[in-house]
């Protein structure tokens, strides 16, 4: 892995040729034996990077009330961990970030392909965002189309300000990009699973971010 130099606009850049770590160097659930190719981003690294994003967010938004909008289902782990780190900072530093957490469920992948349409499952009424500082927390930004559509939907409810935190952002040549304000890792266009990111609902119960194997893709295909 390589890393661009720090600072709040930095992100950890993972090069195209990074193969990931061998599975034998880490632990993972027995039931995924054969379904994974490599460990792409170990859980501990995700946590350490998330801890830093929390600090960046605190530096920017500390002492303002924010509403965290967690994008389910994939965003749930990143959101839970990010919020934990922000809470730790809130109780241990002079600044404090009062937060409310809310959830929105989006569906946009079929097998391993992102679709363009934004499909909100369940409650669409986001009027509780009116006049608020909103931080959208998403696991992965791929083509950027979903995020763009979501931003449009959120902005219609007239929040005071909207920022986006994305754990992973794909480096895609189409460059539709609506780059999040806070980025954990910039990754090549590979289909990754784990840390709540799924392949047809599988792999959400895996704590590292991994690359799925061909066997895995076939086994859990719809």
């Amino acid at each position: 892995m390589t890393h661009r130099c720090g600072g709040k606009d930095g992100r950890i850049v993972i090069e195209d040729d990074w193969p990931g770590y061998s599975l034998d160097l880490f632990t993972y659930p027995e039931h995924y034996c054969g379904d994974l190719q490599s460990v792409y981003i170990p859980h501990g690294v995700i946590m350490d990077r998330t801890e830093r994003l929390a600090r960046n967010i605190m530096d920017d938004l500390g002492d303002h009330d924010i509403v965290i909008l967690c994008v389910l289902k994939g965003g749930y782990k990143f959101c839970a961990d990010l919020v934990e780190f922000i809470k730790a900072l809130s109780r241990n530093s002079r600044k404090s970030l009062p937060m409310r957490v809310d959830f929105i469920r989006l569906k946009s992948y079929l097998n391993d392909q992102s679709t363009a349409s934004l499909h909100i499952v369940g409650e669409e009424d986001l009027s509780f965002l009116r006049g608020k500082n909103v931080l959208i927390v998403e696991a992965i930004v791929d083509t950027g189309k979903t995020m763009k559509a979501l931003l449009k939907h959120v902005e219609a409810f007239e929040p005071k300000m909207v920022k986006v935190a994305g754990l992973l952002v794909k480096r895609v040549s189409s460059g539709v990009g609506s780059f999040p304000d806070y980025v954990g890792f910039e990754i090549p266009n590979r289909f990754v699973v784990g840390y709540a990111l799924d392949y047809n609902e599988r792999f959400r119960d895996l704590h590292h971010i991994c690359v799925i194997s061909e066997q895995g893709k076939t086994k859990y295909k719809i």
């Binding site: 749930y76 922000i86 809130s90 404090s96 957490v101 809310d102 959830f103 119960d205």
Partner: protein
């Protein structure tokens, strides 16, 4: 704090943790909790809380044990973990993290998929107990599966009873409920979840995702709210 509550009859005895199952951590009516100055509290809540009732670390340690008991009971078949938002989400995340840790460190491992639902009462009149499930996948995905419902607190038990009736229609293989807290209240309809973290008196507690008008979800200990807190965050 009081340690053991009533010991219920446990089922399987082949599992090493069976002898502990059914025991819950009971907190007595007289329990006062801890002074706020003994722990770290977010600056913005310092005047809104009375006491720390259940420290975060204790919640985690208890949850770790529940994870093991769940593995014992439900292991061996695909589990659908159903999170009841919004209050259930912290407990859900931490419980699943412990189950995942067991999965990757032992010979037994349960594939788990997750889902998130919100429950809405049909009307403000709570005595009807009717609920609507919003936001989850099609409930037919539960057919033939072991379902683990994860909730933050069971009060009267009416909501959970109603939810269980509703889910029965989809023929899951097994449905179990894990609740972090169960209230000791005369208004209880007698429902007991399968896995209980703490049995608590009928006090209004906040924190660890339990809210008061959407506030305090971002507090990691379970605390008793103060009078000024109640006023400040009144609806």
């Amino acid at each position: 704090m009081v340690r053991n509550g009533a010991r219920r009859k446990s089922g399987k005895s082949d599992c090493p943790t069976a002898r502990g199952r059914g025991v819950q951590l009971g907190i007595s009516d007289e329990e006062q909790g801890y002074d706020l100055d003994l722990f770290c509290i977010p600056k913005h809540y310092v005047n809104d809380l009375e006491r720390v009732y259940i420290p975060h670390g204790l919640i985690l340690d208890r949850t770790e044990r529940l994870a093991r008991e769940i593995m014992c009971d439900m292991g061996g078949h695909h589990i659908v973990a159903l999170c009841v938002l919004k209050g259930g989400y912290k407990f859900f995340a931490d419980l699943l993290d412990y189950i995942k840790a067991l999965n990757r460190n032992s010979d037994r491992s349960i594939p788990m998929t997750v889902d998130f639902i919100r429950l809405k009462s049909y009307c403000n009149d709570q005595s009807t107990g009717e609920i609507k499930v919003i936001g989850g996948d099609d409930l037919s995905t539960l057919t033939g599966k072991n379902v683990l419902i994860v909730e933050d607190i069971i009060d009267t038990g009416k909501t959970m009873k109603t939810l269980l009736q509703l889910l029965k229609r989809y023929n899951p293989k097994m449905v179990k409920v894990a609740s972090l807290l169960v209230k000791r209240t005369p208004r209880s309809v007698g429902y007991r979840p399968d896995f209980v973290g703490f049995e608590v008196p009928d006090k209004f507690v906040v924190g660890y995702a339990l809210d008061y008008n959407e506030y305090f979800r971002d507090l990691n200990h379970i605390c008793v709210i103060s009078e000024s807190g109640k006023e400040k965050y009144k609806a």
